[in-house]
């Protein structure tokens, strides 16, 4: 089933995969996520802030992530997202698809060089 996502993500810059991967580490709020994507890709992935929240909401609707308001003393309340069990499964599947795909591409590329 992960392959649908794969197709979509090839076109959309893998937003969903990146979000799921970040949330796999710990729960995060929206700003945190956008900042980390930019930081970790060293600017290689052009990230449209505009598409972050629609993507988050879609993932939430599909039950892959779960958002809730968190209040900390002395801070404004923030909406934090964490990965659900279903989200973890999809992430694992996507990772394996991507792995396979990269290995495949790699081999094809090497054959062409030879």
């Amino acid at each position: 089933m992960g392959t649908t996502l794969l197709e979509r993500e090839l076109k959309r810059g893998s937003t969903e995969l990146l979000i799921l991967a970040l949330l796999d580490e710990r729960q995060r709020h929206g700003y945190d996520i956008s900042r980390l994507i930019e930081e970790r890709s060293g600017g290689a992935i052009t990230f449209h802030t505009a598409s972050l929240y629609p993507t988050l909401y879609r993932l939430e609707d599909r039950g892959l992530i779960e958002g809730r308001w968190v209040e900390r003393a002395g801070q404004r309340r923030r909406r934090c997202y964490r990965l659900t069990a279903a989200g973890r499964k999809v992430l694992a599947e996507q990772r394996s698809v991507w792995d396979t795909f990269f290995i495949a591409l790699n081999r094809v590329a090497q054959i062409r060089h030879a």
Binding site: M1, T4, G30, Y31, Y53, Y57, R78, V97
Partner: protein, 923 residues
């Protein structure tokens, strides 16, 4: 710091977009974090605010997607409780009909499969029920028992009969039964009305008590009473007759004046005393009239006052008293029979032994159906398997549909359909298929029913009792419903496991390497394994029955049935011995003179029709003259050409010739069994030197040649099978027709004509010659010998054909099912196959992928099938001939056939897999 939540809301509102407070707050926190980050980067308030405004502007551009879907809530109120079940059901039915209309191919295949399965099952059930279970059409028929007598375990020459010794002893005093009655079939030529053409009738000579046993009531007139049979004579019967309804309608137009009118039967005037009701058919539907018959005593004196011993064997039936069991009746009859006068040698002739009598009593219905019961039960089991296969096939189709309908099912679940509701929907869908299939199946069964009398062998018992009645309809309805529910529950079970979220996101393709990982695919694979196993069992059964039939067809019967025309010429009792001899010899010499005729002969016996007579005598075997042994043999009175006409092989000595005359020395020909058993002291059996028997003398054959008659053996011929090929060898004696001195030794001679080519064109010659020689006589039972053999094999052939039909049907279902499962699996694995191809897999590897799957399914199915066949084929043992139930060839050939079918079924899916384009598959 500004209130960014308000700022977000205002900016979006200015752009004509309204968003939830919730989202505005979340975006607000993001904006303020961005503002703080900008300030931390060293930007001043205005620059930081500008950066945040740019962010908000970007959100505005995509504001459409900035919303969470509302949490699930029942959008439509649940239907009120009172209208729930039935209203919902009607809706389900409408919905299911719409779906079926949208997939006509699926609907057609599913309904057709069900129709064939249910049609076959219903037909076989109706036959099994009508033949084996439906009570016989007599009042309290479960109290009717058929009697058979045996001596020291030896059955009489005609199975299922008792002797007059037993009948008389028991009839005089009986406690466990209300009454006993006996009968024998008699073929007669009758002139029913003056001036009418003579007609051949099958009649039954019955004891007057038989009607009492059956509790039969006449439609007109009366039945026989006790005295009707008795007065005068050695085999007395008063000259009365009772007509069947059919004969009465045919010959008298149903008029009442038929009673007391006179009918000429075999030249004797009989007075009609009664007419039976239309439904009265005893012993079978072919019987058109009944005459009274008195059972004679074993010992008595004939009209001239000379003492005689007479043993008759005939069929008999008794009605148990209420509460009595068949075994009690058998015990009583056995005891009474042992107290009866000893029939002596006559019993040896009938039974081959004169030990103490043993009478068995079995329910009449069991006796009637004994020879078809095992086969019917086997076929019923087979058709049950077939129905299971057909059902499994429809279930598999439903599963495949359910898999592609996961989204629909998930949506229905999402909008509030409970598991029960979904199950009902799926069961309703398959019930529609089942009901349509059941109705079509009933139509098939009804069509088959009309054809049954022509499809079933003529001697199949109780064909008239097979009917499509309420019970059979109920069975068909039950079978359809059970099959539908079975078909619907499996997909419903899978539907309940559907994960809403995954299903909605899913496009139905399998994860890498997961072609068979989904529960649906696994279930379909298991169904395939089961279908192949069932096909295997049915194929093994069909192959064994077919091989057995072929073995029967080609079995050595001791004679050559090809190109022999046979017919019976019933001779009136009034013909003298000279007249008989003249007529038959003229007939055969005129037939021999016809071009193309190799031999024409006659005799009192014909294989598969009549054995001739039975003879018991005492003689001293040449090998050991000191002792006297009881000899029993079949006795055949034949013309010289009989052996050549029937193709009986002469092993030693000579056959009869025209040199054997009434006045020449009395000669006989015996068969190997006779020679081995009586002429060589039994020491040297088959294959020994038959010449030893030649020249031996057999005394006491009778044939009205006075006392101390002696007959010299001049030839030994091979044994021939009178009936089925499985029958044991019987000692036989052939006597020249001209040397028999009894006027009535050959009352109904058979004519045999061996021709060079097809014997059928000679029927016309035979008829015209008979018409010229004896205008008042009619030919009877005109058939080629080959046809007689084929007809005698009608049942084994029918069983083989029916089981073969079932197995082909099952294999077709399995093949098509396998094709469907594999195509589905390949379609699901297109991406995986694409990746593999991209990784360098060659076409052979991809095809191997599919082949491995088939091989696994086929191997599992066939292994299970072979094991089941091995166990089940033992039950075929009783109906097999010339092939063992564990025949190696069958058990090797059937798996091969199944593998070939499986290979053919996977050709197209494998090709499709090989043609997967990795670029398109991975896009």
């Amino acid at each position: 710091m500004p209130d960014f939540s308000a700022r977000v809301r205002q900016t979006l509102a200015a752009g004509g977009r309204a968003i939830d407070d919730d989202i505005a707050e979340e975006l607000g926190t993001h904006a303020s974090a961005a503002y703080e980050a900008a300030r931390a980067d060293g930007l001043d308030h205005d620059d930081a605010l500008r950066r945040v405004d740019g962010l908000i502007a970007a959100w505005l551009a995509d504001a459409d997607r900035l919303q969470r879907r509302p949490k699930r809530a029942a959008a439509i109120a649940a239907p009120p409780a009172d209208s729930s079940a039935w209203a919902g059901l009607a809706h389900d039915v409408r919905y299911a009909m719409r779906l079926l209309r949208r997939q006509p191919a699926f609907a057609f295949i599913a309904v057709l499969t069900m129709a064939l399965g249910i049609g076959a099952t219903t037909t076989l059930f109706s036959i099994t029920y009508g033949v084996l279970l439906r009570p016989l059409p007599w009042p309290d028929a479960n109290r009717l028992v058929r009697l058979s007598e045996s001596r020291q375990g030896r059955a009489p020459r005609i199975r299922g009969t008792i002797t007059n010794a037993t009948y008389n002893a028991w009839h005089d005093r009986h406690a466990t039964v209300e009454e006993i009655g006996g009968w024998r079939n008699v073929f007669a030529t009758a002139i029913v009305r003056n001036g009418a053409e003579p007609v051949r009738l099958q009649t039954a000579a019955v004891t007057p008590t038989l009607f009492t046993v059956l509790k039969a009531v006449p439609l007109r007139g009366r039945l026989f009473v006790d005295d009707d049979g008795k007065p005068g004579g050695r085999f007395p019967s008063r000259d009365l007759i009772v007509l069947s309804y059919g004969l009465w309608q045919e010959q008298f137009g149903g008029r009442d004046d038929a009673i007391a009118s006179v009918v000429q039967v075999d030249g004797k005037p009989l007075t009609v005393v009664g007419v039976m009701p239309r439904e009265f058919a005893f012993p079978d539907r072919e019987t058109r009239a009944w005459t009274p018959w008195a059972i004679s005593g074993v010992v008595g004196r004939d009209d001239n006052g000379r003492p005689y011993t007479s043993v008759q064997i005939f069929q008999a039936m008794a009605r148990l008293r209420a509460g009595a069991t068949p075994s009690q009746a058998a015990a009583e009859a056995t005891a009474r029979s042992r107290g009866a006068p000893d029939p002596g040698l006559a019993a040896v002739a009938m039974f081959g032994d004169n030990g103490p009598a043993e009478i068995s009593a079995v329910p009449a219905i069991a006796m009637m159906t004994a020879d078809v019961r095992p086969a019917l039960l086997i076929l019923l089991a087979a058709v049950g398997l077939l129905l299971v296969t057909a059902t499994a096939n429809v279930a598999s189709l439903q599963l495949a549909r359910a898999a592609t309908r996961r989204r629909e099912i998930a949506i229905r679940a999402a909008i509030g359909a409970g598991a029960g509701r979904l199950t009902r929907q799926l069961v309703v869908e398959s019930s529609l298929v089942g009901i349509a299939g059941g109705m079509a199946g009933l139509a098939c069964a009804a069509a088959l029913h009309r054809a049954l009398p022509s499809l079933l062998p003529a001697d199949f018992p109780r064909v008239a009792d097979v009917a499509l009645d309420a019970r059979v309809m109920a069975f068909a309805a039950f079978a359809s419903l059970a099959a539908s529910i079975a078909c619907g529950l499996l997909p419903a079970l899978h539907a309940r496991r559907v994960n809403l979220v995954e299903s909605l996101a899913d496009d139905g393709s399998a994860p890498v390497g997961g072609g068979m990982r989904s529960p649906t695919a696994r279930a379909r694979m298991l169904i395939m394994v089961g279908q192949l196993a069932v096909s295997c069992v049915l194929h093994v059964g069909a192959a064994l029955l077919s091989r057995s039939f072929v073995a029967l067809l080609h079995a050595d019967r001791g004679y050559d049935p090809t190109n022999v025309l046979t017919a019976r010429i019933p001779l009136p009792a009034t013909y003298s011995i000279e007249r008989r001899r003249d007529l038959l010899e003229t007939l055969s010499s005129r037939l021999r003179a016809l071009p193309g005729v190799q031999e024409a002969a006659f005799g009192n016996a014909l294989p598969l029709v009549s054995a001739g007579g039975f003879r018991a005598l005492k003689m001293r075997p040449p090998a050991n003259p000191a002792i006297e042994v009881d000899v029993n043999a079949i006795e055949r009175v034949v013309s010289p050409g009989y052996f050549a006409a029937l193709g009986i092989r002469l092993r030693a000595g000579r056959a009869f010739s025209d040199a054997d005359t009434p006045t020449s020395p009395q000669v006989i020909v015996v068969n190997r069994s006779f020679a081995a058993r009586y002429l060589e002291g039994g020491a040297r059996l088959k294959g020994s030197r038959f010449e030893e028997g030649i020249g031996a003398v057999v005394p006491n054959l009778g044939m009205c040649r006075g006392d101390n008659d002696r007959w010299q053996v001049v030839g030994v011929v091979d044994d021939l099978r009178q009936g089925g090929v499985g029958e044991p060898d019987q000692p036989e004696v052939f006597i020249p027709f001209v040397q028999n001195g009894c006027a009535n030794a050959v009352p109904q001679p058979f004519v045999l004509v061996r021709t060079a080519g097809d014997p059928l064109p000679y029927v016309a010659h035979l008829r015209s010659i008979l018409r010229q020689e004896a205008p008042s006589l009619a030919l009877d039972s005109v058939m080629t010998m080959e046809d007689r053999v084929t007809t005698s094999l009608a049942k084994p052939r029918l069983y083989a054909v029916v089981l073969a039909g079932f197995s082909v049907f099952a294999l077709t279902i399995a093949g098509v099912g396998l094709f469907g499962v594999l195509s589905y699996s390949v379609a699901q694995r297109v991406r995986e196959i694409g990746v593999r191809t991209a990784l360098g897999a060659r076409t052979a590897d991809i095809v191997g992928l599919v082949l491995r799957q088939v091989a696994a399914i086929a191997a599992a199915g066939i292994t299970i099938g072979l094991v089941a066949s091995y166990a089940a084929s033992r039950s075929l043992g009783t109906v097999l001939y010339g092939v063992g139930p564990h025949d190696v060839l069958t058990f090797v050939a059937v798996p091969l056939v199944l593998f070939v079918v499986a290979a053919v079924a996977c050709l197209v899916p494998a090709r499709r897999a090989a043609q997967v384009d990795p670029i398109r598959a991975l896009r």
